[in-house]
């Protein structure tokens, strides 16, 4: 027989040395909008892959909530098909899926139906009893934004969101509001039911391995941080370029535009992590405090001088002729929605004073690329003959988010030979070819983090509101005069004014 314990067990000692995340508590995830695209394409495949890789706890359960007239079996069959189609790992392991599917149920109800929440509560109680979910709940709002407030309200009034036994968390998809006022109203509505610690505002960009790698690159390597400032950096370019158009999202995009769709969230996140100070540790508030400080430090924008908007007309992308934005499905033929934004920002702090940040995003650009590119200042003095170095380009450090995730450093090197001739070479680090593990989908990481209660990679209330404040300022400037749309051809790098924006500072956009 085993001996008596001489040291109390306060932590799971079998976990020592395992380079794997802690297992979340058994929980039920309630997905509102369970018959929608996001659930099919992202959430269920993410949950399946988490289960496959042993990250989900025993007893983990999913309740799909939607107003679609299907039976529970039909719902299971639908999500099984979705996993079959969209899982990043193939083929789907039937036994693992079956094991996960045993915990999947469906509640049909309109999102504002108080009686429906009674049935949902009964189903959650059943899971607590039969599958040991112990009152732990994740409410995932994968619905259109107009349902966010009503769902939150009903979760509160029905008592389902009450704390007590187990934890309760709510995940909210973007867009989180459509301006500062609506974001504040939504925050207010959510806070009437949940505390900030229970709220997980998702921006899937932050779940990407390569975005997190920017933080590691900056703060785990001693050689970069000392030169990551106004003294050595000439300027920073942040690009989120898409070669696709709006596909079938015309209805949504007409109310959104590039400013709300990408700038307010993805570009602001990339700006924050590129410019932030080192946090004292990697916990949620330490990281988010530093990100918010960056947003607070943005110098007030002069919209007429610092912002360019564009909308694509017909053109050619990747050898294919494509229509202009106004010819897309569900788009007004006189639409003034922007599909391109370029912004020049300055950050008023000691690290970045007078160092411009150029941000751009657009649809139907020549290629897909997301990157943070830092141009360093030229050496103060070149001891070589002018002819030897006239074509020398400055040092660039580029952190590519997608595609070809990795980092690239452009440096000068001597061409072998008796004459001193220099040329520029790239040192490339490709994330994908340097690690054997296939990167998980961003949703896998974020869903797991939420279940573990780690909000580091989720946006905080003040972060969201700061970003909306900037967007509102730009919108207000744009409202003063109508745009000359369309003003760039599909397949080009945006309107000429975007080039002028950076060229007037004596700089040029990179070709990503």
């Amino acid at each position: 027989m085993a001996q008596a314990v001489t040291t109390p067990i306060t932590q799971n000692i079998l976990r020592d040395g395992l380079i794997l995340p802690r297992t979340p508590d058994p929980a039920a995830m309630v997905i509102f909008g369970a018959s929608g695209d996001l659930t099919a394409r992202k959430l269920m495949p993410a949950l399946y892959n988490l289960a496959l890789n042993r990250y989900l706890p025993s007893g983990f359960s999913v309740i799909g909530v939607a107003d679609t007239a299907i039976s529970e079996d039909e719902f299971r069959s639908r999500v099984a098909d979705a996993v079959q189609k969209f899982s990043r790992t193939q083929p789907v392991d039937r036994a693992v899926w079956q094991s996960l599917a045993e915990g999947i149920s469906y509640v049909r109800m309109p999102f504002d139906d108080q009686d429906g929440y009674g049935r949902l509560a009964a189903e959650l109680d059943r899971l607590d009893r039969e599958r040991g979910t112990n009152g732990n709940r994740v409410f995932y709002l994968a619905t259109a934004p107009q349902f966010f407030s009503v769902i939150i309200d009903r979760l509160g009034s029905s008592g389902i969101a009450k704390t007590g036994e187990g934890w309760k968390r709510v995940v909210i998809e973007k867009p989180f509001g459509n301006d500062l006022k609506s974001a504040q109203a939504l925050n207010h509505a959510i806070h009437s039911v949940f505390t900030e610690q229970q709220i997980f505002r998702i921006d899937h960009y932050l779940g990407k391995e390569t975005v997190q790698n920017v933080l590691v690159f900056r703060f785990a390597n001693g050689i970069f941080e000392p030169i990551w400032n106004r003294r050595y950096v000439d300027h920073v370019q942040i690009t989120v370029a898409e070669d696709i158009g709006i596909e079938r999202r015309g209805k949504y995009y007409e109310t959104s535009g590039a400013l709300r769709d990408i700038f307010q969230n993805h570009l602001m996140q990339l700006l924050s992590i590129a410019a932030m100070e080192a946090p004292p540790n990697f916990d949620a508030d330490s990281v988010r405090d530093e990100k918010v400080k960056v947003l607070k430090s943005i110098h007030p924008i002069d919209v007429a001088k610092d912002v360019v908007r564009g909308q694509y007309g017909p053109g050619w992308v990747g050898g294919q002729q494509v229509p202009g934005y106004r010819q897309e499905l569900n788009v007004s033929p006189t639409s003034n929605t922007e599909t391109f934004v370029a912004v020049r920002l300055k950050i008023d702090n000691w690290r970045w004073a007078d160092t411009p940040f150029y941000l751009r995003t657009g649809k139907r650009l020549p290629s897909r690329a997301s990157e943070i590119a830092i141009q360093f200042k030229n050496p103060p003095h070149l001891p070589f003959a002018k002819t030897a170095v006239e074509e020398l380009t400055p040092n660039w450090l580029v952190m590519r988010i997608q595609p070809h995730e990795g980092a690239s450093l452009k440096i000068a090197a001597k061409i072998p030979g008796p004459v001193m001739r220099l040329r520029t070479v790239n040192m490339d680090f490709f994330y994908g070819s340097s690690f054997m593990v296939e990167s998980p989908d961003a949703y896998e990481r974020l869903v797991l983090d939420c279940m573990l209660g780690d909000a580091t990679l989720f946006a905080r209330e003040d972060e969201v509101e700061r970003a909306w404040g900037l967007v509102d300022r730009i919108e207000a400037g744009w409202a003063l005069q109508p745009p000359p749309f369309p003003n760039y051809a599909a397949g080009s790098w945006g309107p000429p004014e975007a080039d002028a924006l950076i060229e007037q500072d004596g700089r040029r956009w990179r070709r990503p």
Binding site: A2, I13, L18, L20, T23, D25, G432, S433
Partner: protein
């Protein structure tokens, strides 16, 4: 995924300086399509991505083919300078040959270049290949010694290479008996020619360890771990027990950190031929009896079950990865320094 593979192999050398020169030549040669053109120079000036020096020791030609294939696949994710030592000291007539090659692969548009030196020796030179390997290593990169079969623990070659290496990687599933395991542990603990140890067989146990640890992440289960009173491990019917011993040693060593000695029971199981088949942890105490079980299912899966008293909780099926050698090796290459947990598990397995 696009893939392209270009290889350049040089003639035979025995002089270390000639080998070093040829390494530079073959690497240059991969990019020499344009002769001395600026484009070729630019390509050749591209940074070399190398994560380590990897020395693999094989004893016969058929094994050489298999090991070379593993290293080929490994090089895509772990570009390294690789030295393969085909050491045949039992063959008469001294012989020492070297073959230098460089490979360039393009995977999804990313180019990976690796260099390989095959050192082939018979007779006495085969015992002293470490002296030729040492000057061929890239400075300041860790040296990994991969010994795919059962090491010759007493051979000068093994000890010289351990002296050179930062890490020794073996596969205890290659018929290691208790004596071999004891000697392996000795390598990690000796004062000279000491290397940290990695074991592909230990890497295969990650899923078992992870899933077993998850039992006690569940609310209320940690207290039961303090009342563990036994572990049963069922292994395949072919009689190889190294993996089962390591798994048992792992539980025993972890529990020893809190002063609990765990009795281990090993039993053969006809349901599988090889490897760990079932892993049962028994607990008692005030919470009552409980059994935590993992069972290997056909098709690379694990079934996890918890029984509390006479009540079964929701079972769960998860994947039990069957990783090829290059993935296990790649995983071992990412581990820094001594794998203390492995050494403690090995030690506990032998007690």
């Amino acid at each position: 995924m696009t893939q392209n593979h270009k290889e350049l192999t040089a003639r035979t050398f025995v002089d270390v300086h000639a080998i070093q020169e040829e390494l530079d030549q073959v690497r240059w040669g991969l990019h020499a399509d344009g002769g001395g053109s600026e484009a070729a120079q630019h390509a050749a000036a591209e940074a070399r991505a190398s994560v380590c020096n990897l020395i693999a020791v094989v004893s016969n030609e058929p094994e050489l083919g298999a090991i070379s294939s593993v290293l080929d696949r490994l090089s895509v994710t772990n570009p390294s300078r690789t030295l393969i030592l085909l050491a045949q000291h039992t063959r008469a007539a001294d012989k020492l040959e070297a073959e230098v090659s460089a490979q360039e692969r393009t995977e999804s548009g990313h180019r990976v270049t690796t260099e390989r030196v095959l050192l082939h020796a018979h007779g006495e030179p085969a015992r002293h290949l470490a002296s030729l390997a040492a000057p061929l290593l890239i400075p300041d990169l860790p040296v990994i010694l991969w010994w795919p079969g059962r090491p010759e623990f007493d051979s000068p070659l093994f000890n010289d290479l351990c002296e050179l290496a930062d890490r020794l990687i073996v596969d205890t599933d290659e018929g290691f008996d208790e004596t071999d395991l004891t000697r392996l542990l000795g390598v990690a603990r000796r004062k000279t020619a000491r290397a940290s140890i990695g074991d592909l067989n230990w890497a295969r146990l990650i899923a078992w360890r992870h899933t077993a640890a998850q039992f006690f992440d569940m609310p209320g289960m940690l207290a039961r771990l303090a009342h563990i009173h036994g572990v049963s491990i069922f292994h395949g019917s072919d009689g190889s027990t190294a993996q089962a011993r390591l798994l048992g040693g792992w539980v025993r060593s972890r529990m020893a950190t809190v002063g609990i000695d765990v009795p281990l029971e090993f039993r053969p199981d006809d349901s599988h031929e090889h490897g760990v088949c079932r892993f049962l942890i028994y607990t008692g105490g005030d919470e009552g009896l409980a059994r935590f079980s993992l069972k290997r299912l056909r098709g690379n899966r694990l079934l996890t079950q918890i029984r509390l008293g006479d009540q079964d909780l929701s079972p769960r099926t998860v994947r039990l990865e069957s990783r090829p050698a290059e993935e296990l090796l790649g995983f071992e290459l990412t581990l820094p320094g001594h794998d203390v947990l492995f050494e403690q598990a090995l030690d506990a397995a032998l007690r």
